[in-house]
């Protein structure tokens, strides 16, 4: 079955996943809305759980957030394992509160990106190729910026 022929039905009577009919039965907008809601609730739950563990694991004092003397270059930042997803995940399994919080933040950061990725798909199904292009362009600029900003 050709996936771009939305009129054609397969032998079992169902439409291709790229056809408007498949999605209008299921309402695209509702999917985005639910996706976002679950993403947000997940991020919230993870962060909250991590926060509670973090406070229990701490000794009641606040880490040193104050600016260091020595100005701009003296900034130390958070511990290195808390900066990258590959080092955060192993620590989650050890119930490290700080790592769990950071993971919640990563899930949070992913929600708008997933929302936009879903928009691309939605525009594709609507055959709005102008906006498939525009959205991909925006994603491209953002990822290029992210990538080159790291160096």
């Amino acid at each position: 079955m050709k996936s771009d022929n939305k009129q054609q039905l397969s032998a079992s009577g169902s439409h291709s996943i790229f056809s408007k009919e498949y999605w209008s039965q299921r309402d695209m907008e509702m999917y985005v809305g639910k996706l976002l809601r679950y993403g947000v609730m997940t991020a919230c739950a993870i962060t909250l759980l991590g926060g509670i563990i973090y406070i229990f694991q701490g000794n009641g004092t606040i880490p040193n957030y104050k600016p260091m003397p020595g100005g701009h270059n003296a900034f130390v930042g958070v511990q290195h394992y808390l900066r990258d997803i590959s080092t955060i995940i192993p620590r989650i399994l050890h119930f490290d509160g700080a790592a769990i919080i950071q993971f919640g933040v990563i899930v949070l950061i992913a929600t708008p990106i997933l929302r936009v990725a879903f928009s691309v798909f939605a525009f594709l199904v609507e055959k709005d190729y102008l906006y498939v292009g525009i959205t991909l362009l925006v994603l491209l600029i953002i990822f290029a910026n992210m990538f080159f900003g790291l160096h």
């Binding site: 957030y65 950061i109 525009i134």
Partner: protein, 284 residues
Amino acid sequence: MGLDIVNVELFSLILFLGAIFAGMLGALTGLGGGVVVIPLLTLGFGVDMRYAIGAALVTSIATSSGAAAAYIKERITNVRIGMFLEVATTTGAVAGALVAIYLPTNIIAILFSCVLIFSAAMSLRKKNQVIDYAAKGDPMGVRLKLNSSYPTKQGEVSYNVRRVWGGYLLMSLAGIISGILGIGSGALKVLAMDTMMKIPFKVSTTTSNFMVGVTTAASAVLYLQRGYIDPGLAFPIVVGVLIGAFFGSKILMKANVHTLRLIFFVVVSFLAVQMMYNGITGKL
């Protein structure tokens, strides 16, 4: 200093309450997180500006997603307008970040704060005007499929977008400025859509929130890797802002637009004053 007197539970609680407020305000005005969170941390607790910026980024994303999650089928945000203008903001931001090295940041901050107050005042004057949003708009708006409608208490209201390229230019400027200064993009986004393109206020604020979430997510990854995002700060903020933005978004549906404009004006003025202060004292 504030940090020496409180213990971690109290500090987290204060941040949490501040975050709820920030989220609510963000959902209502389309501004990101910096306005409340940065002064709370830097002036209130003496936290290093970089941690504060990391926290503000997290606030912006949480505001954007929290506000959007309030409705399963929210039909106010105009994704096409948002995506189209995002091209302008993102390219502007890249340009701004590149150029920032050569520019006197504090002077730009002072100029920007003047522009902000002026444009916010202009936006406020309109609260007594009755604008016919459905009047014929820019043909470019039709070509780019930007025109739409949104639900209100009085029923569905159509709107046609004006001055598309003017809006695009202004958005590029907004992007450049936020690339240089790091904050303030939400305010300019709302103003560009509301004042230049004559888009209904609630559509401008929700679409701004959508846009802010997208661009901020990109910077957030960078800042995470540079160690600017601290878990102890992130946790009360994420939870608080999500809650605040969720309920703020619910309130937005029923809110009176005149009241919203007034709140927007007050918050933007506060932002402008902060920026002027930071510019003059050389913190930026």
